[in-house]
Amino acid sequence: MIIAGKILISLLVPLLVGMRCIKVFFAEDSFPKYAFIALSYGLGLGVVTHVLLLLAFLNIELNWITALVSILGLYIAVLVFAHIFIKPLRFELLRTKKDSVFKSNRPTINVIILCVFLVAAYYVVYSFWTALNVPVHEWDSLATSVYSAKVIYYEKSLANLKYFPYPVYPLHMPLALVWNALCFGFWDDQLVKITFPFMFLSFLVVFYFILTQLTSKKGALLGLALLASSNLFMFHAASTYRDIFLIYYVYSALAFIVFWQKYRNKRLLMLAGLLAGLGAFTKLEGMAYLPVYFILIMFILCKGEKVKLRVKAKEFLSFSVPCIFIVSIFHFVKVFKGISTAKYVGFDLVNCIKNIPVALEYFGHALFMTASWNIVWVLLLFLIVWRWKVILADREAQMWLLALVLFFAIHFLLSLSAGLSAHILSYNTISRLLLHFFPVAVSLIVLLMRQEKF
């Protein structure tokens, strides 16, 4: 009973903090309740881990009291600041559409929808069962991320950060586990995983919400089914890898940029900036994806409506300031601790050109010849060719496609570099890299299918 209460606290605190943060920008009823909660959890968890990071950096002993008092202090500060300076916006455009999922006169459609619900529910149950019944056992977790979390929890500081395995790796996920352990009062190889299924569930909810903004609720459910058709995605839903965290942040940041393109409200960009920053604090790849967001925003600013340069600059800053602020916190800690990422950089043009066929082969194989994705990539390729004219006429589809191309381009170019080719061009890494933007591919499919009559 006591442990159940502790688990509840470990989940509720990030949720409440996240709610407060979103309420700074938007009134609560700007989003459907379910999306508001799911977004709050991810955002709040990011704030909590940053508080822990700063406490540890300032050599304040990490424990339950210092963590909670600091979070509470921050919560009150945000509350007061927002009350004085910012009026939350009531943004009705993102409210749920009125169409109902189950109100179809065609029984076949209702049966399919029910099946999708059941499959999604099955995977959620599996994810929760695994989190609560199987101890941490994945290779990367034991070797790096969860190991780092255990070290931080016992040392109660970042004094030895320099000697961590891969000290350059961001600490969002390890600190999220530290937060859990601080709440429980002990380290448990099973219970600390409780964040993972909740992140997975939050992502599913956010994904569904975002798809409802692109298409009908039935279309959104179809998107959920496409997502669930990927073995690899479902594997990561129940693992202790950081990837599910990264997918959550990358996808939501991207979606809010696309929403901004549609509704042109700067607060959407600010939220996107925060989420993108948290993505960079989750995995190194999150950092590599920052150019995707910036290129996308530049593209929208250049190709969009004719507005004054000053307005455009303000819009650009609305994203970049919160994003760079979040990114710079961990980088500042790393610089201060004397940790460098320089050894990973290094391009050799001849080698790059030589690597092109090898990289193509690896990417092709990972996309089309493994049990990871069902035939989702084939379906996407077919739809892009078939629906090319639709893409040319649909700004939203162009955004998602551009984002997808940029994600691919980043990994492809990095895989050509001397320092990273051996790392990226392995089936282990490449599959997980593709996973980060797999939901983007699904969104594009859903968009291209929305006018198709089945």
């Binding site: 969860v146 190991y147 194989h365």
Partner: protein, 239 residues
Amino acid sequence: MNKKAQISYSLLAFIFLASMAVFLSVYSLVFKISFVSLFNKFISGFFSDPHVNGFYGTSAFSYKILYYLLAVSFVIISSLDLARRRKKQQTDAPFVLPSFFRLLLIILALLSVCQVVQHSWYFQHRYELFQNKSLHQKKIQLFGFPYAFARNCQKHLSGYHRAQFITDVDVHHPEGMTEHRRLAYFLYPINIRSYDKTLPVDSIIYFKKHDAVNLIPEGYVIRYAYDNDNVLAVRKDLP
């Protein structure tokens, strides 16, 4: 879904399944493999057990067959469309691409069903493996000796300690590396991995080190020995 669409979906599913049956039958005859085992190999390619590093291995055999079947189905659909349009003197719009799209949806749905079924077996297997077991039993089952040894070392040496790690295992080789990482994780707060190596240590972990009991340096005593090769030695003055 209207009646026409239902007929179209049924026809496409029939074309695909018939092509598959013919192809696998011919393949099994030519290469003298039983149809059932060939079918199993084909289907299981779409859900192999995930690698512990978080990826699915190659399923080239299954996917090559699938793409071949897709190509055959495309030819059949195109021929049907051509025949229909000739008959109606090309007044209708071609249905090749919409039909092919529907075929892809059918295959995706069929594979998804197979995946969910196979995943449920995988889940059942894991359920039997882990349910009604204590955390300790689960860890013994998952990690074996490194975990058991680490746990016993912790019983004999509590609190934070910097320890030197000595082994005959090649920790740069995947197998040895896995053992080392597991040991480091479960030993912590006996730290064999993440500390400034210039600082003095107060204990030594001998892991799979031949005749370790006879290698203990002066000033150290054996605190725990699993056997001659796996030993925890600590500084004499350590309480």
